[in-house]
Symmetry: C2
Amino acid sequence: MNIAIMGFGVVGSGVAELMTKNHAGITEKSMQPSMEIKYILDLRDFPDSPFCDKIIHDFSTILEDDSIAVVVETMGGLHPAYEFVSDLLQAGKSVVTSNKELVAAKGYELLTLAQEKNVNFLFEASVGGGIPIIRPITQCLAANEIDEIAGILNGTTNFILTKMITENMEMGEALAMAQHLGYAEKDPTADVDGIDACRKICILASLCFGKHIYPDQVRTEGIRDVQLRDVSYAANGGYGMKLLGVARRVEGNKLCIFVAPCLVQGHSQLASVDDVFNAILVRGDAIGDVVFYGRGAGKLPTASAVVADVIDCAKHIAKRKLLDWGAPEDGFVIDCAEVPYPFFVRGVCDCEKTAETVRGALAKQELHIENAPEGEIAFLTGEISENALRAALAEIPGFSTGSMMRVTAY
Amino acid sequence: MNIAIMGFGVVGSGVAELMTKNHAGITEKSMQPSMEIKYILDLRDFPDSPFCDKIIHDFSTILEDDSIAVVVETMGGLHPAYEFVSDLLQAGKSVVTSNKELVAAKGYELLTLAQEKNVNFLFEASVGGGIPIIRPITQCLAANEIDEIAGILNGTTNFILTKMITENMEMGEALAMAQHLGYAEKDPTADVDGIDACRKICILASLCFGKHIYPDQVRTEGIRDVQLRDVSYAANGGYGMKLLGVARRVEGNKLCIFVAPCLVQGHSQLASVDDVFNAILVRGDAIGDVVFYGRGAGKLPTASAVVADVIDCAKHIAKRKLLDWGAPEDGFVIDCAEVPYPFFVRGVCDCEKTAETVRGALAKQELHIENAPEGEIAFLTGEISENALRAALAEIPGFSTGSMMRVTAY
């Protein structure tokens, strides 16, 4: 059996390396007599790579070669990845991808096409790097109604938050360090503003709840506005702070979904996820909470997930894997600002009387730090929707809100 | 499609309940037109159960009914579970079990029989309750060479250790509390002495390393001898203490496997696993460390894993799942007392000169607690085998060893 790789960047070269290193075991587990990389598609040449003789520049070589049954797409970006993958599925080839942008935007469409053509379209590596999560959700937790899924889905922002918390670094300083270490891109927008986490929670939610959720349906907030003292207030209350992607089934079988910095319980499995690690919590009606933890990015961890999918394609070459990812549905995603949560609020009061009003009206638990600025108070509320909270705060004219974050039940 | 359940205890009744509660979703995911429980085999009658009309007492009813394609075995114990399961596989029926004793003792044999008959023998629920672990290891991590697997595999002992650590309870008191809460049996031997954890690490190791490992090949130590002050010494050094099952590939492609209380790094994902929760760490060459966390026991979590396997059997009714679990191999498991580890040692010195000798010869880091008994010292060693350590300690006549535990690298 022959495979092709499209995109010889970090992940693509990791796939080639891993398939070479663990070739015997991978071939055996694939139940194929042989398993070889025949082509690697890239715009560039790689004269010094051990795979240089496999590099090609013309996509049609792969498309038209009948000996290629499985194609790995590790190019990233929506175009031309989308066109290439569509053509390959159309031609009856299975596709494995690590491209979260592609899956979040076109998952339903490409899965439907794969179904029509009786081939596989697999994307374990698109969420959580090497952490097994897609397959556990779709298979191992199949007996459950999933009520909620919440994940630390972006290693870069988790690294930044970890540095802020453990080393008292300001956000800008921690970002510069992440860039220096190669964890963050020069343009860190996709990470820092939550766009990357948004794509991943869309993929997870689409799988858990069976309807395609698009990134533009998700209220997305990054970590740019997180202040070091919010982290301190949270820590003093026994909470950690994490950038989470959350998808939660709410009354009437609707979905509340968002990406935002949240307070998590200090003793929880999510609170202890540090640095570039990722973790995903799934709450099912039978199983309760399960958490999957590991490296959410990186060459070989991500390649590990890609190659596991390649093995699965090889084993199921004549049999399609069923993924319960249906069409989008109008009205399924509701406005998360209407869903009650306990909130963390920090703000400034113009006088002690205002502070008393705020305390009386909203504060269930007040939080403290040393050397708080004059007039600042921070507190946790009871369950209240964001809209109701904003309205209540607006009615206290002497209070100006500094930050506001949801407090999760994990 | 019809299924039968053998054993209507905690797990068996959970399976019936879950299949009823989430019937529509389970049937859809099974890709079967219908999915019904036809028989429940038990010695007892259950006149008040909603499933009372399905209770039967004669195994041959199930064996001889051609409409039964999948049988759930939740009886526990080796006999007659082994005979029943053998007969069912022989008759061409797939079997799903939660019975770790059966799988640890007969896994290779029953998998071989299942292969001959082209049916499935699945056992996700036998390790880690509802935590997805068997399928992730065999499928999602298939591209990896697995180097090590370590798990908190027994909820009862983890509950006891948690109480000792967080509430300064003595072992006996914590055990009594676990019994009172229904977490521990009246006879707690299987839990407290590590026998349950031993069966589970055998199953995991057999899958990860491809050769059947039997419980009697595993050096097994429980938590009976753990002293509260060992926990305190460890905590002061930044370590947690957990009863771990560990299987680790060592030089020459041999296996070091044991069950014992170990010191784990205080910031690790294993250290924060409290109460009756389980967690399993898998270290692969490509993926690095991944950790799976959740409820390791209980009616519905375990039923969740059983039903996921039933769904898998239903989907693959004409196709066997490949599990890479080979025959046992002489000499594969080596004596773990010969494998170097850093150790925690606590003991009593007859005089300060002996203490100086111990420090000079073995202590890499000394640990302290308040109000340590006269002459007691505790320390961490460098990497040394247990045999070498015992020999070295024996050469210091004024020192008597109180406890000795491995320190893990996670």
